[in-house]
Amino acid sequence: MIKLKSSEKEAIAGYLFVLPNFLGFAVFTLVPVILSLVLSFVSWDMLSPPKFIGLSNFINLIGFHKESASFVANDPLFWKCLGNTLYLMMIIPLQIMASLGLALIVNNKIKGINLFKTIYFLPTITNGVAICLLWAWIYNFDFGLLNNMIIKFGNLFGIHFQGIPWLTSTAWAKPSLMIMGLWIMMGGYNMILFLAALQGVPRELYEAAQIDGAGSWDRFWSITWPMISPTTFFIAVMSVIGGFQGGFMQAYIMTGGGPDRSTTTLEYLIYNHLYSWQHVGYAAGIAWFVFVIVFLVTMFNWRFGGKLVQYSHY
């Protein structure tokens, strides 16, 4: 029998330990990344053999053509869905502010605070489909809680309000999803992250400011806000990255992407191309478009993140 050196033994053990995970990782992540790039250059319906079409998918996706003296998008639906995705992301600043606000009040050591924390966290741990069904019911035009509350509220002042077509009008569908998103997100992960950041601010700073006679408003802007800025920035970046990939389940359950495609996000469009229309190559093209955006946001984070926020040396 050949005698192995202990470093060789360790190397073999290392490979064996990594192997089970790496095999799966290679088959279901590494290879698929490359495969999906390849797919974005082909036309394939998963039935007939795939056909190489060069850059056609991307030209269709983001290209324009001339049509009677004006430029028209090759794929208006893609642009519409990109617009929807960006529109829905406009709730992010409000979401971050709400999470920070909740974290600030939860950060007080008073009786019953844990109960409130748990309550705020409930939507986060709840099955998303159940939440969406609940809100579809609340938003229901004829019998929903919200419209009935609005109508009853109007009656108090003798005004006859009409219900709002929350999920059934192109004007209201996106804001409705955004309000629900705010409700789900504000007490969730971001609040916990803010809370951890707030608890990491050294108490001496506040005490020093108090001696200097700074009010709580001043203390927030000159101590808290700069000290937690790395967390704020991290949450903002993650929310943007998540935003570009989000919105599928909500729209699938509550609106079916409608009315008139007004709630179809890029993620939903990928699902449609992949599953409903069997445009596998085109779906891969959109996925790679999203990837490029996410990549740019991440790069921006690495390049400028350090300059925009204040890292403390405590």
Binding site: A11, G14, L35, Y120, L133, I138, N140, L145
Partner: protein, 294 residues
Amino acid sequence: MRDEGSLANKVKIARKKKILKACLIYGFLILGGVTMILPFLWMISTSLKSYNSVFIFNLKDIHWLPDPVYWKNYVDVWKVVPFARFYLNSIFVCVAVTFGQVATSALAAYAFARLQFPGRDKIFFAYLATMMIPGSVTMIPVFALMRTFGWIDTYKALIIPSIFTAYGTFLLRQFFMTLPRDLEDAAKIDGCSLWGIFWRVILPLSNTALATLTIFVSLGNWVSFMWPLLVTNSIEKRTLPIGLAYFQELYQYAQPDWGLLMAGSLITMVPIIIVFLFNQRFFIEGIKLTGMKG
């Protein structure tokens, strides 16, 4: 009444301020709490109403308290759709994915954190690099793979692709790096094999990290939606979220039986809330850990 000199007065004012502050904080807390809890109360209320009584509030007031209380929804919901089946599917898939992911991640993470072998850092970098890739990029070819393997509408498709993630390996590797080496060295001197060190030293020291990963993976899998939607066709293979969505689709052309739907939704929520209540600490730790990586 502005006697600056009197200490008693100062204390009085300070106490008043403190009480005012506490009132303000409780005010905001309760406002936030009511906002969060009200929809859930409405859910419970609706789930205890019969099909017709759900709709009657338009005539008079909003009925928060169902009268009479209609428990039957909680019985019927198991018959209208195969809810028990969805439940079993979800539990089975969730347990299998969680166990598989924690086990393979822990093995790989130990090697990345502690063992020397050629190419180690390059492989780990590949893991890291894939973490920011959007899920849909890999989902599309994996979906095509499932069709090629003939795995569509099988448990294999629900379980196997979800087991191997860079995230779990990364999380545990970061944790193993923080463990002191003394114990391992001592075990080595005592003639313990690498497997023995992993099994008897590293794992017992990593209870918190393993619990955190377990909670995160199982929660993520329990609510996962798009993947099970893509790879299941038959009702028998649906997990709870997809089953719920299917349940709603039954009413596509009519006003749904909201009482039944809400009862079904509540039933899916209960176990995860119980799990959460008993493991809140790990949830919070896990969130903080993920926040640190940025």
